[in-house]
């Protein structure tokens, strides 16, 4: 328990004098007044406490810890009950709040509305990443997942975000890469109009050959839009497995005497890992308006889009990274859409909603940035 007033003052005096005021014994006395008995720490059930007290052999001594444990159990159950109610209330409140925002800010499938919602933000992420979950058990799990990806792609393009990476643990999106491209392209046409004003879409996945952009009937062979979107699909194998593969390659090189272990530095691994998920920047990269500052001090090659996400949106009630590649999220802002009822543990399908996307970007713009110093 925290020290009482006099002890606190005494302790702080000691700290100010760099440990010279109190002697070792004085400090020990001070602490021992507050430290619990070791038996209390280890034992949690009445039976163990009773065993400790058995030497005493007095009924009142045995009764007391037993009653205490019963009391704790009762309080635990009451707290869990009350807390459950509190969580439900909080879910209702947050659901109402989210509905309110959803009603006030609806995209109406028009990029202009989306841009209006994001006007005046001090910064936008260059690389946006989301964590989605595929519900294999429901019948239309894949369909809704693809639709979610398409919606997110459309919103990101409208917001002017050049790179969107979608993480889905099982990697089912990578298996259906061409379907992803088709559906996202259709959604972009829905939002932005028929080609040639459709943004240029490219879909990538690490270790898979990139798909060529879909051919679209163009009037004079060029597109008159400078919007484009690169979509990167990630899965669990891009996390630890990639680092393990890198370790294996480095081991082979070391065994063949081409590399010394002490040559393995953070920069070497960083270069390799970012190369594995790197996405080349499209040729017409002049889509960002000048009002947005550069996000962080990390310099990156302009021929590639940044491999570290600036913002990571978790579409689940709680933040669990679920195997997202660990190396790249060193400085990423993580935003959770929040718990709005229905799905407590976050294992069923995620709900991708426009208001979640908006709130994440608003939060990102308001976030302060300090890089170590």
């Amino acid at each position: 328990m925290p020290f009482n007033q006099d002890d606190t003052r005494f302790y702080r005096q000691d700290v100010d004098s760099r440990g010279q005021t109190m002697s070792v014994d004085e400090r020990r006395e001070l602490l021992e007044r507050y430290l619990p008995r070791p038996s209390e720490l280890r034992s949690s059930s009445a039976r163990e406490q009773v065993r400790d007290q058995k030497r005493k052999q007095r009924r009142s001594r045995r009764l007391r810890p037993y009653l205490k444990q019963r009391l704790h159990l009762a309080i635990y159950l009451i707290i869990q009950l009350l807390f459950g109610i509190f969580i439900r209330v909080r879910q209702i409140v947050s659901a109402l709040f989210q509905k309110f925002i959803a009603v006030r800010h609806y995209h109406h499938r028009t990029p202009a509305y989306i841009q209006k919602d994001l006007k005046g933000l001090s910064r936008l992420p260059e690389h946006l990443s989301v964590i989605l979950r595929y519900d294999a058990r429901s019948d239309d799990g894949l369909e809704t997942l693809l639709d979610d990806v398409a919606e997110l792609a459309a919103w990101s393009t409208a917001a002017g975000i050049p790179l969107l990476s979608v993480y889905e643990k099982t990697g089912v999106l990578k298996q259906y890469m061409s379907a992803v491209q088709e559906i996202v392209q259709q959604k972009l046409v829905l939002y932005f109009g028929a080609p040639p004003s459709t943004p240029v879409l490219q879909v990538f996945a690490p270790n898979y050959p990139s798909l060529s952009p879909l051919p679209s009937p163009q009037i004079n062979g060029t597109t008159n839009t400078n919007l484009n979107l690169s979509l990167l699909l990630l899965s669990e194998s891009d996390g630890r497995e990639t680092l393990v593969d890198l370790t294996r390659t480095l081991t082979e090189m070391a065994q063949a005497q081409k590399l010394r272990p002490k040559d393995i530095t953070v920069d070497l691994i960083d270069t390799e890992i970012s190369a594995s998920t790197s996405v080349p920047a499209p040729s017409n990269n002049a889509q960002r308006t000048n009002g947005h500052k550069k996000t962080n001090g990390v310099k990156h090659d302009d021929t590639y889009l940044p491999s570290e996400p600036d913002l990571l949106i978790v579409f689940a009630p709680v933040i669990k990274l679920d195997g997202y590649p660990p190396w790249q999220i060193r400085l990423t802002e993580i935003f959770c859409v929040g718990d709005s009822g229905g799905d407590v543990s976050g294992r069923s399908r995620t709900r991708v909603e426009y208001q979640g996307f908006l709130r994440a970007l608003w939060n990102y713009a308001g976030a302060e940035f300090r890089f170590g110093s």
């Binding site: 440990g19 704790h72 680092l243 890198l246 082979e252 691994i269 709680v318 190396w327 110093s373």
Partner: protein, 415 residues
């Protein structure tokens, strides 16, 4: 004015002995209640917000760090009383070396004093079985701090009940890099394999090959026999040693149905004379095994120095061929995990970051990217106390229970 007086009155009331006693009893009660449910085994804290707190209260930054240390003591107390086994704290990042020299020196000083004081209370730590570990890149610290660190760590090395990991100075990328480097170093050490282990699995068995060779020789021998008399001929087949040649011939002349016996005999003699023969393709034959010899095949990827078959006669050459490198294919994510600083700790269950910043900032990236619940709180670290920490634990317990119920429901449905 009235509010200021109210706040002073409130402070006076709260610090009076009966109020303090009541508050302490309440704290004990709540902590005891927490223990009745499931408690995370490994909790990590990012202690952020000391400087902002000092700025807002207009006190020195160093004073803010001291108050942060007091908050740490409070939280550690709550954690260990609730039954948490391992607590990891992010004390100092390698990036923090960029701060002003004054502040860095003050922090190092504080660390040194606290560690020295800790070393003086050895028996207190032993009583609770507490262990302190310092994780991070030691080369960046000055020797006097290192000395205090090592003393505190060595003194508590044998305790196993509760562990405090202090990450100082630490960066998660650096930890992963060090783990990879250690793995590569471990796998670059040649390993002497015992002789019995050198069999290689392959669909080709020795027996069949020797059988085929024998039939070939027999056929050619018989053909020659019919042409000439039983003239002892030195067969030029590479699979027979000169010692067994006469045996073979006599047996063959007697009967032709002793193939199995011949084969065994041949195998025995071959193994005995393996190091002496010049043209043997295989090296180690134990009579009991049926696997094929490690023939030199070019099927393996070229960069792996595999076991090379011995084509030479001298015994020391065959001895050298026995050592090889462990195969890189056996590296898994578990290998890297076991080389991290936190290899001995239970998996991370809960990570809490204070001060409203919603980043991981290079802390425990490898450990927390799978099943760890990450919580961002809006309170500054020096103000962090039981009242902000308990709701996090309550929520953890509540969700854990719901998850358990759901899982039981699914299992019930499947069964």
């Amino acid at each position: 004015m009235a509010s200021k007086q109210l706040s002073t009155i409130r402070k006076w009331v709260l610090s009076s002995p009966p109020a303090e006693w009541a508050l302490n009893q309440l704290r004990e009660l709540l902590i005891g209640a927490i223990k009745q449910g499931e408690v995370p085994r490994h909790v990590a804290f990012v202690m952020d917000g000391n400087r902002r707190y000092a700025r807002s209260r207009r006190i020195e930054t160093v004073e803010g760090h001291n108050l942060g240390f007091e908050a740490l003591a409070r939280i550690l107390e709550v954690c260990y009383k609730s039954g948490v086994h391992t607590v990891t704290i992010y004390a100092f990042s390698i990036e923090n070396f960029k701060r002003s020299r004054y502040e860095v020196d003050a922090l190092m000083d504080m660390a040194k004093i606290k560690l020295t004081q800790l070393s003086q209370h050895g028996e207190l730590l032993d009583r609770y079985g507490a262990r302190i570990r310092i994780l991070g890149q030691r080369e960046l610290l000055k020797p006097d701090v290192l000395e205090a660190m090592d003393r505190a760590c060595d003194m508590t090395k044998h305790n196993t009940e509760t562990v405090l990991n202090v990450c100082f100075p630490y960066t998660s990328r650096d930890e992963i890099t060090t783990a990879i480097r250690r793995t590569v170093q471990e796998y670059s050490k040649p390993v002497k394999r015992p002789r019995t282990e050198q069999k290689r699995l392959s669909p080709f068995t020795e027996e069949r090959i020797t059988q085929t060779l024998k039939t070939q020789h027999r056929d050619s021998f018989q053909a020659e026999e019919r042409l000439q008399d039983l003239e002892p001929k030195t067969l030029s087949s590479p699979s027979l040693s000169s010692a067994s040649l006469s045996d073979f011939q006599t047996r063959l002349s007697r009967s032709q149905s002793l193939d199995a016996k011949d084969h065994d005999h041949e195998a025995d003699t071959s193994s005995e004379s393996s190091s002496a023969t010049t043209n043997l393709h295989y090296e180690l034959l134990s009579p009991s095994s049926a696997s094929s010899p490690p023939t030199s095949y070019a099927g393996s990827p070229q960069s792996k120095p595999q076991l090379r078959p011995s084509n030479t006669t001298s015994p020391e050459h065959s001895q050298k061929e026995l050592s090889s490198y462990p195969s890189p294919e056996s590296i898994t994510s578990g290998t890297i995990t076991s080389h991290l600083f936190t290899a001995d700790d239970p998996p991370l269950d809960l990570m809490i970051r204070t001060s409203g910043v919603e980043r991981l900032s290079d802390f425990m990236l490898w450990q927390c990217h799978e099943e760890t619940r990450v919580v961002f709180l809006d309170v500054l670290w020096p103000e962090f106390d039981l009242w902000q920490f308990l709701p996090v634990l309550w929520e953890w317990q509540w969700r854990g229970r719901k998850e358990e119920q759901r899982r039981r429901l699914i299992e019930g449905r499947l069964v």
